[in-house]
Symmetry: C2
Subunit: 268 residues, 2 copies
């Protein structure tokens, strides 16, 4: 396997639920010999991508934080989203995320917890979040090029978490095409019984969906006024899109032609 892929795999195993890992742990997770994992991890620790806490205990390192600062300062989406995220979290007191898709996993570009006593932790959106059970996941799936999407769906593990979880592929496909037309996705009690999430697309100047604006709300509050949260998410996403230079010509008349997505990875 290529070195870059290997290192990506290693780093991806450092998660919110397991932020510290050992040599043997990584070895078995990747199916490598302990000695190989040892060399990898220690190498990464020397460069600063990881940090050695104790012999054989590793965490993500300072270089990650540094790179993230660069990203936060230079990435158009994050930059444009910053004030809107802060404002929305402040105004409504709910947890807010800006999310993209990395391969088959979600990644939070920014996160802000609400200020209410009962609320959702910022950790809900991470690489471990099941795509099919949160609003942002569904929305981002719905924006993918159709061919690629169909291939991906086949390989997704549609774990059932509650009785509301969508576990049938056909059902998911139907939902996604509706979401693509609506420009809005929600998942109410589909992952955790007491969690509701919804999301709206953030579009670049070219009209391509580059991220999702996501709201995570305790179910008890969400079901009091679902329409309101829907409006909040869409409005916030549109505001960010506007800051990215998107001209909302005819939001109601229809979406982009055929949902065609331009990605340079498609040249394969």
């Amino acid at each position: 396997m290529k070195a870059a892929a290997r290192i990506g795999q290693v780093l991806s195993h450092f998660t919110v639920t397991a932020p510290e890992r050992g040599t043997g742990e990584i070895a078995s997770l990747l199916g490598l010999a302990n000695s190989s994992a040892h060399e990898l991890l220690n190498g990464l620790a020397e460069t600063g991508l990881l940090q050695k806490q104790a012999p054989g205990r590793f965490r993500l390192g300072p270089l990650v934080a540094g790179l993230a600062q660069v990203l936060a300062n230079t990435d158009g989406v994050i930059e444009a989203a910053r004030p809107v995220v802060a404002r929305t979290a402040e105004d409504h007191g709910e947890t807010v995320h800006v999310v993209t898709l990395t391969g088959r996993h979600l990644a939070a570009l920014s996160a802000q917890t609400g200020n209410r006593p009962v609320g959702v932790a910022r950790g809900v959106i991470s690489s471990e979040t099941p795509l099919h059970a949160v609003g942002a996941g569904k929305l981002l799936l719905a924006q993918m090029p159709t061919a690629e999407l169909l291939r991906l769906i086949e390989t997704l593990e549609l774990t059932g978490f509650t009785d509301r979880t969508v576990t049938a592929r056909s059902h998911l496909r139907d939902q996604l095409s509706m979401i693509r037309e609506d420009g809005f996705a929600e998942a109410v009690g589909e992952w955790h019984r007491d969690l509701a999430t919804c999301a709206a697309p953030i579009r670049s100047h070219a009209g391509v969906c580059v991220a999702a604006f996501s709201l995570a709300v305790p179910l008890s509050r969400y079901e009091l006024q679902p329409r309101a949260y829907r409006a909040i998410a869409i409005q916030a996403a549109d505001r960010i899109s506007a800051r990215l230079g998107w001209q909302d010509i005819d939001r109601r008349a229809g979406q982009l032609p055929g949902g065609k997505s331009v990605s340079w990875d498609d040249v394969a």
Copy 2:
């Protein structure tokens, strides 16, 4: 060269001032053939550490943002610093950083810009920041194990930026030993003529300095009340240290025995 080190190098070349790079660019920066750089960059883009904007144009990718979120949720220092950073930036309106040392470069663990019309951008602290010309750099140097520090100083490029920059190694060494005793460092107009920075150590429960709390202020405001900023930095750093479990037994009586620093990398 080892793969981990190579990849660290590549990523480190994506900076605030040059957030987007091309194949040939990286190749010449690392002294590789174009084809090698090509394979590296595209590999990284596939894993999500980088993002391909156009053929041959790369930026940091969503995986970096995701990892940073993990770090922000699980790293004790960042976690403990979050409220203090927010509070300090809010109260005084100045730009605030939490900084560590990665090899020979600074890395910002968190950053918050002030809200004043005239203020310092958050980008001041990055891997490109000269160690010897900002408070955080000096402070972190001063906390290093002595032997390692002396070796590092010899290899530092003490570029002169203004007439106040410390460019003599002997002068720097003297300053650093004072800083270690004081538990405070400042750099007034040593990098940019109109910039003042100061920093105080953040200590873990074991008393080891794990990061620096840094204040970046326009010189015009700083020189009005330098003592006040000093107090703010020290107080904030101490507050964070307290949240990390540090018992400040005798701050005035003296520092840690000999400034001995425990690092698992020292076993070499």
